[in-house]
Amino acid sequence: MQKVLTKKSLPQWVKKLLSYTIYTPVEEDDHWNFVATDNPEDINLDYPLTTLSPKKIIFPQREIFLEFCDSTEGNPEVKEVLPAEKSAVIFGVRPCDAKALTFTDKVFGGDFKDIYYWKRRNQTTLVGISCNTPPYTNCFCVSVNGSPYSKEGLDILLTDLGDKYFVETYTKKGEKLLNLAKGLFKSPTAKDKKDLEKIRIDSKKKIKRQIKNIKKIPPKLKEMFDSPFWDEESMSCLRCGICTYLCPTCHCFDINDEITSSSPIKGKRIRTWDTCQFPDFTMHSSGHNPRPDKASRLRQRILHKFLYFVDRYQNYQCTGCGRCISLCPVGIDLLEVLDKVRDYGS
């Protein structure tokens, strides 16, 4: 379905959606973040890129699986905890972040369906915004088969046409949102469609950063497992978790029992994000660590994204958002590393 919505009527539309939890990008201190709001005026679609992608809403950093309590009779109580029943709408999702969710869909929706993930995924509607100008200096979505107006993973995509938004819906979930405020949406004119086309062509051109010949990278990586290349490239790595925690596609987690009371024993089983960049991620209980240094951890990050994931799901596990590049405290540049990989030994 294609429609247009004047910018002025955006808050009126949001007003009709107040039965949903509404998330919008908000500027906090010096960065942007998705925050729940009940004020339709708060919706802000003119923003750079949030530090944390909407992954943090669909796959929160902390998920409670169950609560347990020891009892004197020897029958411990275990109570399953599920995400609350509440539909949500996320406004202003960047196409790269939405596409990233289609990757986590594969991971959490294989032979085993992760109920926690899917519950949130299914009750959340994603309203995207096309990137008419790259929101980040290190955007490179086009190089990894993405585009600044990709619809993958989105329910609705808005494109800024100046005083109005061009609205496209791709799913039933998306159409439902439009149907809640039918009167506000008009059919697009021929000019709107022409404008849209022009903006889209321009928007792709504006993306400066790229990886050339990305297809050569996976086979190259296969040969480079034992290469000293990783020692060189990881010299400046600090082994912090920024690149992976902020990555919209990274999905590794840890499960711990966290104790809230010791007598009687009470606690919760909790899933939290984890990252291959931490030394204890692969630590065995024997004390052996198969990935003992930062070289092997950097290698794991790159190989997972550009070799293992490709082998398994026929896609690079990267959507080109550029967060890991811009926010790395020591400026490790994924694109530079990939360039070097491609040209390694030739």
């Binding site: 966290e258 809230t260 606690g267 919760k268 909790i270």
Partner: protein, 140 residues
Amino acid sequence: MAEEFEPKIVAFLCKWCSSAGSDLAGVSRMEYPYNVVPITVMCSGSISPLYILSAFSRGADGVLVSGCHPGDCHYIKGNFYARRRIALINKLLDFIGLEPQRFQMSWVSAAEGTKYTEIIKDFVKELKPLGPQTKLGRDL
């Protein structure tokens, strides 16, 4: 009538002086509030900031650290180290916005059973109006 709030105090007492002082209060049948959970440690100098933070995190309304008077330390100078370290923790707790009354330090010798009871009485009196400590309590 609503029940009066009874604060929980975790007291880290050094084995040689303060713990003995609290024992003296006990065997002398001195009366003092029951709000204290004493934890005997070898020396006030052996108290890690983590013990204090953990006590708050597991729900203590107040934390007391008590050792021998300066010059009386069984290990000669453990309490001098404690004095420095605790001063810094004290300032930090205050800085992040914990009520300063919630964290206290005292010198109590083995002979000062009365002083120990006075300290606890005062501590409880100061904590009561503050209500439960929820700021640093575990919210898992």
